[in-house]
Structures are given as C-alpha cells and as structure tokens.
Amino acid sequence: MKAFLMHRDQDLNLQADLPPNAAALIQDLELNTLFEAMARGDKLLFDVAKKVVLFSLNDPKAIAYREGILSDCLEHAAVVREIYELVVQAIEGEKKIWWGKSPELILYRAVQALELFVGTLNRLRQLAEGHGGQFRSEGFVRFFAMLAQELDDEYLRVVQEHLSQLRFRDGILMSAKLGKGNRGVDYILRRPLNERRSWLKRIFGKDRSTYSFEIDGRDESGHRALSELRERGINLVANALAQSTDHILSFFMMLRTELGFYVGCLNLHEQLVLKGEPTCFPVPLASDSAALSARGLYDVCLTLRLETRVVGNDLAADNKVLLIITGANQGGKSTFLRSVGLSYVMMQCGMFVPAERFSASLCSAIFTHYKREEDATMKKGKLDEELSRMSEIADHIGPGCILLCNESFSSTNEREGSEIARQVISALLEAGIRVFLVTHLFELAQGFYRKRMDAALFLRAERQVDGRRTFRIVEGEPLPTSYGQDLYKEIFGRDGQPAAAVPLDTQL
C-alpha cells in the first residue's frame, strides 16, 4: 500500500542528500522563514517542507499532480487535517506502548500496537467512505480507492481473527524437528488445519497417538525450561507480528510525511489569507522557453515577517535571459530578486506562489551568488571567498539553470569587479543559463545595456523626485548612482547628525 501523494508512482524520499545549491538557497532566499511558516513549530513538518522545496521538480506533469492534490486540500482542509491528525495519533500512540525483549513480550507489544492501528485503519476507511467522493485530484481519488479496496470488511475480519488467535486460550501448539544432538529445532507456531479443535481432541480425548507429561509445581528449573520452550515456539510469530506492526507503522509514517507537505501548505496559506495576501497556482511552461511574467509578485518571506502587506511588483520578462536590476539603495531590489527566486522554487515543488499571476518556464535548478559577510575563519580574503563560491557553483550549474546574483563581486573595486562579473555572466549566458542580477556595478550594467541585447531586461528600483522609495521595480536603464547619498541623509539627517530610530526592518 502506497500513499503516492507526492509522486504519481513513487514514495517521497527524504533520505537523499540535499542538492549542492541547497545551503546557499536557504540562506539567500531566507527559506527558513518559509519552512517555519509551514511547520508551525512541528519539526517533522519543517523537515518535509525543506526537503520537498529543495528537491524541485522539472516535469510539468509532476507539478500538476501535486497542484491537483493541493487544491483538493485547500478545498477540504478539515478532512485532510483530520486524516493527518489520525495518523499522527497512531504513530505517537505506538511509541508509548511498553516493550520487552523476550518473544512473549514482543508479541504482547505487537498485539497492543496492532489493536491501536486497527482502530486507526477503521477510522481511515470511514473517512474514505464519507468524504472520498468530494475529492477530485488524481492523487486523492487513487488514495481513497486504495483505502476502500485494501481495508475492506473481509480484511479487517481476518486481522481480528489473528488478534484473537494470538491470545492462546487453548495453549500453544508448535511443530519442530530434530537438530544437532537430537535437540528440537525450527519451532513453528501452528494452527490446526481444518477442524478447530482437532488437536484438543487428540490431547484430551481417548486418542493414543499423543504422549504427555507434566512439570511438577515445585520443579522451578522445569518451569523455566517450559517457559523457554514456549518462547521458542512464539519466536517466529512474534517476529512476524512485530514486523507487521512495523509495516503498518511505516505506512502511517509515509502517509504522515506526504500529507505533511500539504498540511504545511495549508498552514502557510491560512496565514497569507489572513493578511489578505494573494496566492495563485503558477503556470509552469516548458523549460526551453525563457518565459517569466508575473503580476503582484511579492516576497512571501518578507510578508511573513511584517505586520502589514508588502508591495507587489509586476514583471514582464518573457524571452529574457538576462535581468539586471539597479537603482536606489533599500529600494526593494533584493526583495524583488528574492521574490522571483522564491516563486520559482515554490512553483517547482508544486506549491501555489505569492503573486496574483505567475507564469514561467521551468528551470533545472536555481543557484544563488550573494554578497556575504567577511569569512569568519579569516582563511580567505573577500574576493577569494566570492570567487571560490562562484567556482563551486560552476562545478554544478548547467544549461537550463538560473543564477541569482546579488551584488556579486562588489568586494573589489568597480572596474575589476565589473570585468570579472562581465566575463562570468557572458560565459553563463552562452551556456544557456539565465542570470538575474542585482548590482551596483554601473560599468557592468552599462556595458550590457550598450549591447542592446533583445534577451536582456533592465530594471530599476523606483525613486521619486524627493528621494522617497516606492519599493516598486520598474523598467529603466542603469543610472550611475545608487542614491547612496539619499540613504546617508536618511540615516544621518540632513544636517549630518544621526536621526532618531529609523525603522530598518525592511532590510532583512
């Protein structure tokens, strides 16, 4: 039995190593904020969200499969949450059952666990019967059909029968053969073939085909030996039953994990709805186009940290492989770049995206190259550090990937930085990699601008004449200043004295 709620034909694999770009993505896109919103303090949900988001899908059909399930979830949130809770309770309940080391104790524990699980399975089937019909996605339709089929009345009856049999009201019956030194070996617990009580008849009846003896009540070692013999008889069936409960438990765990992703999406969605932030299902396009357009695109991590709504941006970058964003300091460039990156990773794991409308061609992987704090270990100079990270990226990046750069190569002077960046970017573009770049390097931006490339788009953080920022990103050619003097004035006041308490929370 498989849940198959994350992939049409395979389990969700949380064991695989994270892709090489994962750590940088988490840091640069502030992904932990997203994961925390999805997890609401649940460690497992956090882990699931993290893995699913970072193992992005590249196949539009696979994405559509999850989107279908997610929209069922959004529509029937209560039922989905109930199933999830049911499974969590079963898993948590099993942990509390006391366990021991002998076959008898192993069996006892397994019987208790199984009784608990049978309750859960019954309830699951009821939910499937009661609500299954309302679900429309391929994934859920299959899932509920499977529950109804696999957990039918006959099956549940057989399970009950096993449970009652293993209470051994009629003593235990086992087969054996003679092993080394004529000691009994291969003890197997047996059940009479047809007639339920045939063995009892043989034992207690006039039948002469059996022989008996009794252990004296005072014979302590005899009783120990007898109980060991019992344990030997039970050993295999205890193993089988304990493994069976493990099987069911592993099914529940898988179900919990896969549903966990959708519960995380529900958690996030609830928060966004509460704030009045829009979401939509994106339109993923084939990866060979260079499509990217959006309306009301906003930084989901920023809004999760603020009381108020954040500014959304529109973007029309279809057929653009190079995006260069310049302009005012603290004008929303970083936020904008992050909103693009976040929407991309959310789209590619089957989630809704933070926008009113978002359509983009799928990428193979997203890489980020952001300006970093000084290397704390002092092993490398700043430019060394930047270059070594870029070199690591180059080890893994390939055609169809996207690179997000935020103030790369600003650790050296503008001329050198521009030249390095120019060479890097040109090479990447030629390799079929899209580059979205926030930069203060005027020479760099200006250089590309002069090339008049069709596939390049130049954006600017909007600044009003009085120096105030709107946090909107608009199309516009690079300008030679980033308005650093505005910022200086804002912080130090017009007279050059520090101003009182300037809210900086927009600078994440």
């Binding site: 054996a176 080394k180 009479p192 070692s221 013999l229 089988a240």
Partner: protein
Amino acid sequence: MPFHSIMFDLFEIDADVEDQDTPSFFHDLNLDQIFQSVTAGRDEYNLKPFFSMPLNDVDAITYRHEIMRDLEGEALRGRVESFARNMKAMRRHLAQADELRYEYQKASWFLDAVEIYCNAVSYLADELSHLDEKSRGFRTFREYLNTYVNSDGFRSLLAETKKLKEELSAIRYCVHIQDNRITVGKYEAELDCGAEVGKTFRKFQQGSVKDYRVAFDEPPDMNHVEAGVLDLVARLYPGIFLELRDYYDRHRDYPDATIRRFDREVQFYLAYLQFIENLKSSGLNFCYPHVTDRSKEVHAYETFDLALANKLVREHSKVVCNDFSLNSPERIFVVSGANQGGKTTFARTFGQLHYLARLGLPVPGREAQLFLCDRLFTHFEREEHIENLRGKLQDELVRMHDILQQATSNSIVIVNEGFGSTTLNDALFLGREVLPQIIKRDVLSVYVTFIDELSTLSRTTVSMVSTTVPENPTLRTYKIVRRPADGRAYAIAIAEKYALTYESLKRRIVR
C-alpha cells in the same frame, strides 16, 4: 610397497615418537623458536616430537621432499587441509558425545562424528584418485585409501549411517503446551501462524524491516524438559530410536588407525608449508637442498636465519640474505668483524640449514647443497648459573672438551664468541689451542670470534667478515662476506665518531 606412514619410508624409525627429547642445540640455533611458530595452532597434533627426529639417510629425506613437493601443489594441499578440518570436526563431535548426559544425545553426536568421518575419507579417496601425485608417500597412501573405502566394513558403516541420519532428520512432531502440561504428537501439516500473519500485513510494508527474532542460547546439552520431550518423540518413532542405540553400541571403534596416523603426520608438512608461505610472500626464497653424505662441499645462496626472518617479516622489517660456500679443502668459516653485524645470525643460519635438511624440509635460500651430518654441536656463551660451581671460563672449556670428544668427522660444530669471558691474551691462547683441535677433526664448522688472526690458521679455514656501509661505517649491512679479516674498519669508525682516531686525538691534544 604397502603404506604405513607419510613421514617415514621404512619402519626403521617407527619407534614411539612421543619419547624424543629436545636436543641441546635447539636453543642456541633458535630452532626452538622456529618450531614453536611452525606448530602454533596445531597443539592437538603434538607435532613437536617430529621436529626432534632428524633423518639419517638420504633416501628418507628424499621421501619427504617428494611429499612436500606434492603438497606444494594447491589442489592436493587444499584437499588434504579440508580432510584435516573434517577430522578435527569429527574429534570435536566425539568429545561432545562423551560430555553429554542423555543417551539419545550422545548417540546423535556420535552418529554425526561417523558421518563426518565417512564423508572425509570418501572425499579424500575420491579426490586423490583424480590428482597426479608423484611422491611414493602419496601414491601408496592413495592405494591404501582406495582399498579401505571399498572394503565391506566401510561400505556398510557408510550406508547404515546415511540411513539413520535420513530417518532422524525426517522426523516432524508437534508440541502442545498448556499450563504445566506438555503433549507430543506427530506433525500433521498444521498451518504456520507466523507465515499467515506475515502474509496478512505485508501490503503495508514500505521499506526494509527490523528482525525481531530473539537468538536463544543453543548449548549442545538439553534441559530435562527437552529431554522429556525427546523421550516422547522416541516413543512416537520407536523403531528409529532403537536402531540409533544399537548403532552407537556396535561402532565405537570405527576410525582406521592408519588414517588417523596420516591425519596427524601430514600436519608436519602443512605446518611448515604454512609457516614459510608468509616469508615467501615477503620475497624470501626456500629451496629443496641437495643433501649428501659424500661431500663436505656445501653452499647456500640468498639464505637467512629463519627465526630472525620470521620476527622481522612480522615487524615489516627488511631481511638481509647471505651466501656461503665451502670448497674442498675448506671446512671452517671463521667469522669476525663488527659487533652486532650479523655474525651470530650467520652461525645460526648455517646450523639451522643443516638441521632442517635432516628433517627433510625445504630450507631458506635460493639454492643449497648441504651435508648430511651425523650430529650437530653448538657452543654458545651461556648465562652463569649459580648452582654451577665452575667459573664461566671453566664451564665453557668443559663444554668444548665434551664436544670435541663426541664429534666425529661427520659432525658439525658451531662455536660462537668463544672464550669471550676471559682476557684478550687468554682468549688468543685458547683460540689458538681449540681451533686446531676442530681443524684436526675435519668437521664442518662455523667459528665466530673477535680474534681475526684465527682466520688464517689453516688452508681449511675461510675468513668471513661482517660488513658496514662504506660511507657510514657505523651502519651495519648485516652482510657476511668472504674477505680477509682486517679487524679495523669498524673500530676506526667508532673512533672517528668520538673523534678518537689517531689524527683526531692528536689534533685535540695538541690544541
């Protein structure tokens, strides 16, 4: 020629080998260490006595060489080793049968022992018939085995054993336990509960599963409840168990004495082969020496001290090989030179080679011709014994006197650092007295001394010198070469090191 022993071609030495004492030179030549290592892990065969029984004629030595060469072939050796493992298992089973209390258990272990024995013998007979052994020993043993396995006695033992084993292992029974009552009956294809349970729940399985089976202690003996059950099983199948008792009574002395003897004696070869294998893989050579009682011309190339090599190889250190040869009329190596330079090792090597040759074993070296000596004498410096009332020098002289009295012209005498406990003058004097005695006896000898002039006493002495690295005379090469003794090189090196040579000292003093 009928087969009787894989170690001795004739009855001649068929005395009880257990009675042999360790010869006195074992310790001096470190042969005791060698044989300790060779026989390690094979205590049950009591092989040591075999190593104290040198052979006295060339043909007996050849008999062993042939067998050893056969056993160097992997096919034969593998078969014999596997036979030995089986015989070992058989003995373990018999010992277990002896220890047990319940009759049906004893009989079962005994039955297994016989089964192992029958299989081992049949296997070996069959395998040997497919191999092409060249040695007289293995060819006659093969015939012996063939006759044995085709004998009526063996055939019926085999058949009876098989039948009984099959009958016992076919027995299936059921045990029912309720409260303190145990009931035993025949098994009638009742359902397997564990399998049914597994089948019911397998569909939930997602990945690999944990094994919850508890491993029980499985001692060979039974508790009285198990024994009680077994008694009831015996009542369910009375015929089979009656047969088993009867079998146990009738076949107590089943193993063949000659085969048991082979099983022990062949270990002599296997032990040595295994021992030298390790050294061979470190690049050391072993060869079958040409052993003769007709010529005292001996030589060996790239040879080494086996005891030392065994130690060095284990420590992953380098082993230095040496050559030696004596051409008539040469009889005696007089070894001098740097202390700790390998002189004693050389002396031991010479002695070891000649003793190993008399055991019919391959010896260290690429090629060797060795003399079949009648006796081997060693005279090494001894610790002073308090209970020995004679002084050390006196003790040494007494021992030397004894040796010279017993040695014949076919003996080998090895003298190490003779008379080191006396003054240089006394030593010189004694050396000049003793060595001529040895020369007079016409024995083969190695005479290790720090008195280099002894090397020129006679036409029959050859001077061998331990050498040092020319560029750094304080470094020894452990090479012993044929060269006139100069008696200086090493001393000067030491002196220079401490700036005590003539020139150095003069400069220092002049200052």
